[in-house]
Amino acid sequence: MMKRILALTVAAMMVAGVVAGCGGAGSGSGGGTIKIGMIAPMTGDVKTFGESTEQGVLLALEQHKNKAGGYTIELVKGDDRNDPTEGVNIATKMITQDKVKAIIGSVSSKVTIPISEVANAQKVITITGTSTNEKVTMGEKGRKPFVFRACFIDPFQGLVGAKFALNTLKAKTAAVMYDKGNDYTVGLAEQFKLNFEKGGGKVVAMETYAQADSDFNAILTKIAGLKPEMLYLPDYYNKVSLIAKQAKSKGLNVPMVGGDGWDSTDIDYATLDGQYFTNHYAADDTRKEVQTFVKDYEAKYKKKPDALAALAYDATLVLLEGIDNAKSDDTEKIRAAIQGLKNFSAVSGKITYDEKGNPIKGAVILQVKAAKSFKFVETVNP
């Protein structure tokens, strides 16, 4: 018995020693370096989102020469394959092993939500460029103080989609299809329905599917029978291309409206020709910040930046500005500095954070063109 207690005590001390050792190594390694992590889907169903995100982040860091607030910024990269489990694994590894002070990412709300929970609990800052679900910054117990984003949120995007459908498309009936396992699509779909019906429209069908589904014939046959004047498809480009193709073969030729998940060069332009989606910014916007960014990005990557790149760039700028203003590697101070930003001029608009960590700014409507481009249609303000 005594032996066992002794053994337990020794074990406990060893564990304590290891933990203390870790803590010491983390805070003592001043040397003027702050490590930040970048988590994005570099492979999988939304890989172009990851690529754009990485390019945006790298461009912002390069322009700041990897410096902020007197510290050298070191970037650690991770691929989450758009999978929440994988995202949490990488975030945990970055926080416990790499000792990052902040994480930029991820792209999808479903991945960012669990990451932000983990990071917030460890007082590590998370800034996502593109996760638009409300739950990213708001947890079960209220605001997650260490989490911010560079984009507007789902209710706003659903509202803009509904307003556009009612006022510009003059649609009175709509059918909605969304992935029930994805917080992002659920959020947009619900907000669209709410606002579309508030504005006098009628949602004739709210149909769901799972991420692994490829066959939408049954749902589309049912929807075609209800004869809606438009379809609201708030999923990512891959799924939307698939649904749109099958919708056509079911004889469902109505306007389709979606969210920022459509913003990819891998979207099926031919099938979705003439359809609309809400987005964060338009490359043909004439604001100075946009034009400078587009020029720099094109010089570096030889292509036009999409909204993912713009928002990742903005998220990085926000973080660097926060570190600059805090002049510290203490995440409490950086957090306070970001929360205190006033009209910080970024590519996707002027950023001021509300008490929920969401920036207050407008949205644009883009139209898909078969000639592989997106055309700016109009801006909708909050």
Binding site: T43, G44, K47, S214, D215, A218, T221, K227
Partner: protein, 317 residues
């Protein structure tokens, strides 16, 4: 029902509403047939392998995926005509299926490993294939778009809409089922397969080369799964290394529902699964699509633990 090109005002009289309902139902049943037939091709592989060596080959859904990729490479990268890419994919996948059996399962069988070891190995093989093929230099984890080799036209016959792809999928499956029927019941190797499924030892004593028969069964099952993969790629035009998981799982469920080990059972189970999914999505709510299909399995197993056509009809292959 035809795409609303104005013209006729919608008829609201009662009889035509009833007619419309029936046409819609027929169209949904057709959707279910397409889905169920694709499941059936995969389910056949599960059921044949189980019938012969009592192994649930979890890697089967991944052979389906490989089949789809080989088809894609065949006509999109190697430049073959698509009608040649399909049988080629079947042949290559059959070889891969046989290789899996030879490398992963036969060594276990020869050493008399318990059945659970073979099952776990099957799961391992499945994960290996999924993650190996999602490496950058193999297929990579990205989705690929498979261009349609022929235009998908929608025909409307008396209000009933049917597309070229649907006709092609259903016709191909019918042809393959006929070929399978012929192989199993009209050829020597088919006879040997049936013999092995009844009693392996007795079959061996009668001079049947059991290992060869098992290998052939894997090849046959894999070829059918590959065909399903090709049809899937044609119909939905998106493929990825993880595409086999869900159809594989559903086909396995279908095989169990119909009575695992029974060939007609697999087809019946798959058709029931396909129709159940489609009708749930079409007339109840798409929210419970998979839940209802799976509940169906539980209910059937409660009353017929061996599945619909299992055991009672002793026709295992």
């Amino acid at each position: 029902m035809a795409p609303g090109q104005g013209g006729k005002p919608p008829a609201l009289a009662n009889p035509s509403l009833g007619g419309q309902f029936n046409v819609k139902l027929a169209e949904q049943l057709l959707n279910g047939l397409q889905l169920g037939f694709v499941y059936a091709l995969i389910a056949l592989g599960y059921t044949m392998v189980y019938g012969i060596i009592r192994l649930i080959n979890f890697a089967h859904g991944d052979v389906f995926m490989i089949g789809a990729f080989l088809f894609f490479f065949g006509f999109n990268v190697w430049g073959l005509p698509w009608w040649l890419a399909l049988p080629l994919s079947m042949v290559l996948s059959a070889a891969i299926g046989m290789a899996i059996e030879r490398l992963a399962y036969r060594p276990l069988r020869e050493r008399g490993a318990p059945r659970i070891a073979a099952l776990i190995t099957a799961i391992g093989v499945s994960l290996f294939i999924e993650y190996f093929t999602s490496l950058k230099f193999v297929f990579s984890a990205n989705f690929r778009v498979v261009p349609r080799p022929f235009e998908d036209t929608r025909f409307v016959i008396g209000g009933l809409g049917i597309s070229t792809v649907q006709i092609f999928v259903i016709a191909t499956v019918l042809v393959l089922l006929a070929i399978l029927q012929f192989i199993v019941y009209r050829t020597k190797i088919g006879k040997a397969m049936r013999a092995v499924s009844v009693d392996q030892d007795a079959a061996r004593l009668m001079g049947v080369n059991v290992d060869q028969v098992i290998s052939f069964t894997f090849g046959l099952g894999s070829a059918l799964a590959a065909a399903a993969g090709c049809l899937f790629a044609l119909a939905y035009s998106q493929i990825s290394p993880f595409m086999g998981i869900m159809p594989g799982l559903k086909a396995f469920t279908a095989a169990v529902l119909g009575g695992i080990g029974s060939i007609p059972g697999a087809v019946l189970g798959a058709l029931i699964m396909g129709e159940a999914e489609v009708l749930t999505a079409g007339y109840l709510t798409s929210n419970y699509r998979d839940a209802i299909a799976m509940s169906l399995l539980i209910v059937v197993l409660l009353f017929r633990p061996a599945g619909l056509l299992g055991k009672a009809i002793r026709e295992k292959v």
